[in-house]
């Protein structure tokens, strides 16, 4: 049987045309255009000027810092909360299917809709969150209006929306664990905490790796939620790379915007690829 003939390379052609034309080619040309000032028609080569500007200008480089913060904190929140909820939902409670659906559903709702809803819930004077805190005697805050809390407020919504996916991945991982391990441990007199630490956690590693990678890469690229909740404000307090790229594009600084895009590629490539290698190496069979 001639493999090359049956599994003809022609099958790949439509995909390759669209994917290289509209993804790979822009990616490669962006390396060049990030070194220019251009308006989509004419360009002037300026060397590394755009990158210098990006790193020196406070309103631009805050995007790099916030992107990393957003990815790391968002990822940790989803991993921790997702793991704990999954442990809870794999126990013998009766409502686990309903609860799983309820926690998962926000993931399907448009991010813009979620942003609008939580912007209203976090309203500094009328918002439900502050009213609820007031009712139990706590003082609320201007969650999105204060430069120090704004990024964390958006992050909490990010976790609210994304924890469902983390949870279902963990649940799948936990259900795949052989029950006999737990039985053996019970006979040896292990308590619940020991079982969690010595059986569930290590054997969930593949699931955990998926959650970490998904959440981290998603966090690095995030735009919709931040854009609908704060627009990068107050000031530049919640600007991430994706929103800086959009702002520079809207202002007509195309070279700068493209440089932002290239910085994002480099960050993701230099963190996500090694992260993946590292995580996969540590997996237990």
């Amino acid at each position: 049987m001639n493999k090359k003939k049956i599994y003809s390379a022609w099958f790949l052609v439509p995909t390759l045309v669209i994917f290289t034309g509209l993804f790979i080619l822009p990616m490669v040309t962006s390396l060049f255009f990030s070194l220019t000032v251009w308006d989509l028609k004419n360009f002037t080569f300026v060397g590394l000027e755009n990158f210098k500007m990006f790193f020196s200008e406070g309103s631009l480089n805050i995007g790099i810092r916030n992107t990393l913060l957003y990815a790391v904190i968002g990822c940790s929140l989803k991993v921790t909360a997702g793991f704990l909820i999954a442990v809870f939902l794999t126990s013998n409670i009766r409502t686990k299917n309903i609860l799983r659906s309820v926690i998962f559903f926000p993931n399907l709702v448009s991010t813009i809709a979620v942003g609008i809803t939580f912007k209203a819930l976090m309203h500094p004077t009328k918002g439900l969150i502050n009213s609820a805190l007031g009712a139990v005697g706590l003082r609320g805050a201007d969650w999105l209006g204060n430069a120090r809390t704004a990024l964390f407020s958006v992050l909490s919504v990010e976790a609210w929306k994304g924890v469902g996916v983390a949870t279902v991945i963990f649940i799948a991982g936990m259900q795949a664990i052989d029950k006999t391990y737990y039985e053996a441990a019970s006979i040896d007199g292990a308590d619940g905490w020991q079982k969690l630490k010595n059986i569930t956690l290590p054997l969930c590693r593949p699931a955990m790796n998926s959650v970490i990678l998904l959440a981290f890469i998603g966090g690095m690229r995030s735009f919709d939620l931040i854009w609908s909740m704060t627009g990068g404000g107050p000031g530049f307090a919640t600007d991430v790379l994706a929103s800086v790229i959009y702002k520079q594009y809207a202002e007509g600084f195309y070279g700068l915007s493209t440089a932002g895009n290239v910085i994002m590629f480099i960050l993701i490539a230099f963190i996500a690829f090694p992260l993946q290698k590292f995580l996969m190496k540590g997996e237990v069979d």
Partner: protein, 276 residues
Amino acid sequence: MKNRKRLCLLGDIVGMLAAGIIFIIPFLFIFLNSLKGRREANLLDLSLPSVWEWGNYKAVFEANNHIILTAFKNSFLITLGAIILLISFSSMSGYVLQRRKDRLTRAVNVMIMTGLMIPPAILPTIWIMKGIHIYKTLAGIILIEVALQTPFTIMLFRGFMGSIPTELEEAGVIDGCSPFSLFRQVIFPLLKPVTSTVVILNSVTIFNDFMNPLYFMPGSKNATVQLTLYNFMGQYSSSYNLLFADVMTITVPMLILFIIFNKKIVDGMVAGAVKG
């Protein structure tokens, strides 16, 4: 044993309460406020509407010359178009990539892997789209969505191909099938389970996509559902009732989809994540 049961019941109660407060209240909040009068809704509280204003929904549909209908039509066409192309092209690619292991397929696999992680380069993409005259067109955004969802879709198809025995193809070759009709008539029908996962997951992603239409299909005539919602946010900043009615209009289709395909969606997401 009795103690354990009691503990589980407590778990049920605590779980339902927490889920109710954290996950249900936001939706209840949107629903109730979408049915209030303007002044009442602007208080942003959880009370029941004093008058149930179902007319809010009518107002949302009539706003800006029925823009929301155009938006739904556009979003629907984009989603449908992109999914048809994704299924046709990615299933073929996933098939070949799983069956054939040589330099070519290794190179393609690396490209696909890159596409799973790296975001699109916005401005050069606009530049290319302008060059081939598809910028600000439905066809253009459909091709963009196809390009961006291709890596994930191929991964699902490639993963599923692993469970289909090669004997079928061997039999087909002996019967004199051409490579394409072998795929069309023997393999593609067997991919049905993963195809339906692909349809559901991609519909959700593409229908909810905000960033790509924002960049690649700007202009008031080219509204998509998510863009209209975003513009409503600016326009109705003082009429929360209408804003929330719009949010509801967009959320309900997803809720219906979720109720029908609950298991399929959850399993699909898990499969996609774990194989990636």
